[in-house]
Symmetry: C2
Subunit: 309 residues, 2 copies
Amino acid sequence: MNIEERIHAALERHFREVVSPNTPPSLRAAIEHAILPGGALIRPQLYMAVAVVSGDDAPLLTDAGAVALELMHCASLVHDDMPCFDNAQMRRGKKSVHAAFSEPIALLTGDALIVMAYQVLLSESAKRPLSAEHSNRILKMMSVLSQGVGVPNGIVAGQAWECESKVDLWKYQRSKTGSLFTAAVFMGAIVAGANPEPWRAVGESLGDAYQIADDIRDVIGQVDLIGKPVGQDAEHGRPSAAQALGLEGANLEFKRLIESAANGVPHCEGREILRAMIYKESERLVPQSEYQKFVQLAKARSTAADAVL
Amino acid sequence: MNIEERIHAALERHFREVVSPNTPPSLRAAIEHAILPGGALIRPQLYMAVAVVSGDDAPLLTDAGAVALELMHCASLVHDDMPCFDNAQMRRGKKSVHAAFSEPIALLTGDALIVMAYQVLLSESAKRPLSAEHSNRILKMMSVLSQGVGVPNGIVAGQAWECESKVDLWKYQRSKTGSLFTAAVFMGAIVAGANPEPWRAVGESLGDAYQIADDIRDVIGQVDLIGKPVGQDAEHGRPSAAQALGLEGANLEFKRLIESAANGVPHCEGREILRAMIYKESERLVPQSEYQKFVQLAKARSTAADAVL
């Protein structure tokens, strides 16, 4: 079973355990709609890769951490898609939760998913007495996850920066996206009993790279490719690196951040595997052939426009 | 410092600790608006009373549990007041969060408060290594709190039952209100290292009593008395005990539940103090003189109407 299959299996197992048939039927269906079959699972995969190269000596806890990360991410997607934010009708190639169910159910689904992330992390301790060491790992993972999601610097805070008239672009992006990437690599080290600090650079660089990739795709993307509407940043007047740096500047910065993440991987047995994974992910995030095609097309159009005018 | 003052102090301390000035200003102001100076603090007071009669041997943990309960309660109020649910403009005698700030900020405030409840419970473990015993108490408290809030039977599930066409009134009310009362008494025992089970009857009876009181007040209440609009249940077509049992039946059931809660208090040193607290609270929930006044007025009106017709 590879990492992706392992995360899928854990996600389904924890869904069945927590969201029992006693749950109100619409809420249960909406939670399932929001989390299964799952998206790209970028954060949990990154987390689990770090956990595996760090030893993965408590695999059930490792599974729980992956699921918790994905649930928090899904919660933020469900709430961000709602009419008072993006009013997005599509997500992951199907209807968003409020479009498929209703606004009240979408609001409650996000709330339930946040709580469920903790329930999943607590599930092992609820089943049997844990060693002090494992209890401490769970407490630390929950602290790191909470920081990645809540105030003052988590994804909820990042989203709130969108509501401010004065925003520092990097602070905004660090919170909105980077915080959960940093939480992912930290949790991966913690769940295996390793020191999280050496992983900070990997998490921060990847988080920044991912946000810039999102901005770049928002400009060059096609709705089919990423399963959600594009051009949202400009439409919603959101701060965007592709606007601040220009498209080519943003792509250069993206590539620099990927190098920085790959070089930041601490020396450990699986170092080369993880570095290869980061490069592969970068190609998925911003396919350079697509990027070049868009740039050439844009230049050709602009030349054609110049010739006509 | 009495219990109420102790909870107030803890609420302000944890607000300052978690919601640092780095938080986006609107979100920070909205969180403060939602939780300070605080409402009746019924759940945290109940919790802390149980903790105190159970020994209260880890007072900082006890404080954290009270704050966590109040934050979860406030999160549910902020989200329930939003336009897609009650669309309530007032709460606790001032503007509701979405009315005072905006819908996006209200949505994020609720999310941040849920996460913050866990941050507060984790705060002691983040400051210094805890004993295995104290770590376990925190893990258990978080499990119980999560059950009280999330799926399948917590307050979020209770709210979701409102979106179903077929609802079991008692299941709905048990989830919507009772679950957090049960969590409160359980957490009070756990934080002091006591067995929570003997407290179950107290939590369940008080939760049911509180929900019925809410339904009764929704019929007889005046907006000044409880700081929010009345008649909401009928307006929103929500299941209500006052409708199902009739007003007098509901009041009888309320009094029966209060007796059951008071009689359920396990034998312990502070038993009489806790029983007295329950009776005092019941009078605050449904002042019997107000109730009688309403019933007499309603009968007089109906007689006058009969005489005219």
